[in-house]
Amino acid sequence: MEVFKKTNGLTDAPFHYCPGCTHGIIHRLVAEVLEELGVLDRSIAIASVGCSVFSYNYFNCDAIQAAHGRAPAVATGAKRSMPDNIVFTYQGDGDLAAIGTAETVHAAARNENITVIFVNNAIYGMTGGQMAPTSLPNQVTQTSPYGRDVTLVGYPIKVSEMLSQVEGATYIERVAVDNVKNIKNAKKAIKKAFQNQIDKKGFSLIEVLSTCPTNWGKSPKDSLLWLEENMKKNYPLGVFKDRTKGDE
């Protein structure tokens, strides 16, 4: 009889994430995938700046902590140095879609053979809930206290749609972790993104719609509902680019 156990892809360090935050689920999915693919002992995680900064404490592999937004550049260096290792970044929306936009787009354009896990919760979590590049129109945050006014600060950046237009990128998919079915789909997508790297197919990015109950000012359950009702309208799930089609 198989007994439920923690994946070896995570260390024993307790998560610092707030109760109800879905970072824990996404960490677990990534960790399970690394373990199932048998690449943990040759993986290098690139931690970013934001709530996920401490991911270097949680993924049970080697790790490099990168400056805000620079994870894809650090990953590029590590991968070019160690092409047989598995190099992945784990970044939030502020890190990837604001300060790190150039690094993201150009890593995709070069089709760097890395995997990017992009956690989109439409807010800056670590610094206490400021407007993110992915905050929704009219979304109230600490720095958009009257709601995101698109006439003043523009519209949210749709990373998966944008990267689908980058010729070099290999695989771009948006998933969510708001229910069991979606969590299973998310794992499948993450696994494909890592398998692409193992097969040397190039740049894969999985955008994961995630919650931030603390800074959204909602209960964990209401946060999942808000994700379902609001985020998915702006950020539809699906595969946005797949250059591996027909390879199988």
Binding site: I46, N60, I64
Partner: protein
């Protein structure tokens, strides 16, 4: 290659980096150092190395971080405005205790400045540049041969002390051609058990990181780094003395300014003025002790610099302001003539020719 070859400074340093075992170079075009990137683009694929033109100087230095974290030699080069952009990454290299070589072929500043030779990034290189408590090994070549020698030395000291090193050149050094001897013999290797190469390649997990939210721990880290800086200050100061045995006036100059100064010293000597020069080769660690010793017998010092007077502060500190320190400088990309330096020597000599 045990014979001398005629090479441009920028190309000589690029070739030296490859010979020193650097197989990863990340660049971004900026005058007057673009020859380094062009040389690397041509050469790296032929030696199984990696040349990558990054989307920005910021990305280039972070690619260097990625390679350095895996324990391999990596380099980037730029010129003044580009080094400002790299300063974030340089601070991270220092904080993460990673070795790497950064080349700054300086141009006039501030802002976009100009493209002519300058030494106005002295403060930036020796006092930090980026945020936080840290130092760089800063090497200042004054010939194409030293561009080569100090490239080897830069990688070696960076690995020895697990800290970034900077080759601080100026446009003249980068553009001039001189005969050089490239071969430097065997490369010393250092322990890299800290490198992030995958847990299958070492015991336990390796994490390259500069973050600690525990101030007690961060203080310990900073002290640990400064303990190593102290060893570098004791063991790896480099300088050249020129006619200092009987010198009453001491010129302090590095890079191209030291070559102009040498010319002026010879002219002054012909007039019977006892002037010599201490040329710092390592701007950090700065040759404080030899300057302090010189202050016991010299009556005046002259700091000759291509900036508004930056190194002069370190000269004053080294001699504890015990003697007058004159400034002979040009800025904005201008280079002083030997006659201008000579005029400063005569002034420091009390106006006596």
């Amino acid at each position: 290659m045990s014979e001398k070859v005629l090479m441009k400074g920028n190309e000589a340093l690029a070739e030296a980096a490859i010979m020193a075992g650097c197989k990863h170079y990340f660049g971004y075009p900026i005058t007057p150092q673009t020859e380094v990137a062009a040389y690397m683009a041509k050469k790296m694929p032929k030696v199984g190395g990696v040349f990558l033109q990054a989307e920005s100087e910021v990305s280039a230095i972070n690619m260097v971080i990625g390679v350095a974290a895996t324990g391999k030699r990596a380099m980037t080069s730029s010129s003044s405005p580009g080094i400002s952009l790299k300063s974030e990454g340089i601070s991270y290299l220092a904080g993460c205790e990673l070795p790497a070589l950064i080349v700054n072929v300086q141009r006039g500043g501030p802002g976009l400045g100009g493209i002519q030779p300058s030494q106005s990034d002295y403060y930036q290189a020796t006092k930090g540049g980026g945020h936080g408590d840290y130092k760089l090994i800063v090497l200042a070549p004054n010939s194409v041969q030293e561009m080569v020698d100090l490239t080897f030395k830069g990688f070696d000291l960076a690995e020895k002390y697990r800290m970034p090193a900077m080759l601080l050149c100026d446009g003249t050094m980068g553009q001039m051609m001189e005969p050089v001897l490239l071969n430097q013999g065997e490369i010393k290797t250092y322990d890299k058990s800290w490198a992030t190469t995958g847990t299958g390649n070492h015991e336990g997990r390796n994490v390259v990181n500069s973050l600690s939210l525990n101030p007690e721990e961060l203080e310990v880290w900073n002290h640990r780094r400064y303990d190593r800086y102290k060893i570098a200050q004791e063991n790896d100061v480099m300088y050249e003395e020129y006619l200092m045995d009987d010198a009453e006036i001491c010129i302090v100059a590095f890079g191209i300014a030291s070559r102009v100064s040498k010319n002026a010293i010879n002219q002054a000597r012909a007039k019977g003025i006892k002037v010599g020069m201490i040329r710092p080769i390592t701007l950090w660690p700065f040759p404080e002790k030899v300057l302090k010793k010189a202050s016991e017998k010299c009556k005046a010092f002259i700091s000759v610099e291509l900036n508004m007077g930056q190194m002069i502060d370190d000269v004053r500190l080294a001699i504890e302001c015990s003697k007058p320190v004159y400034l002979c400088n040009r800025t904005g990309g201008m280079i002083m003539s030997p006659e201008e330096v000579l005029a400063s020597i005569i002034k420091a000599n009390g106006g006596n020719e």
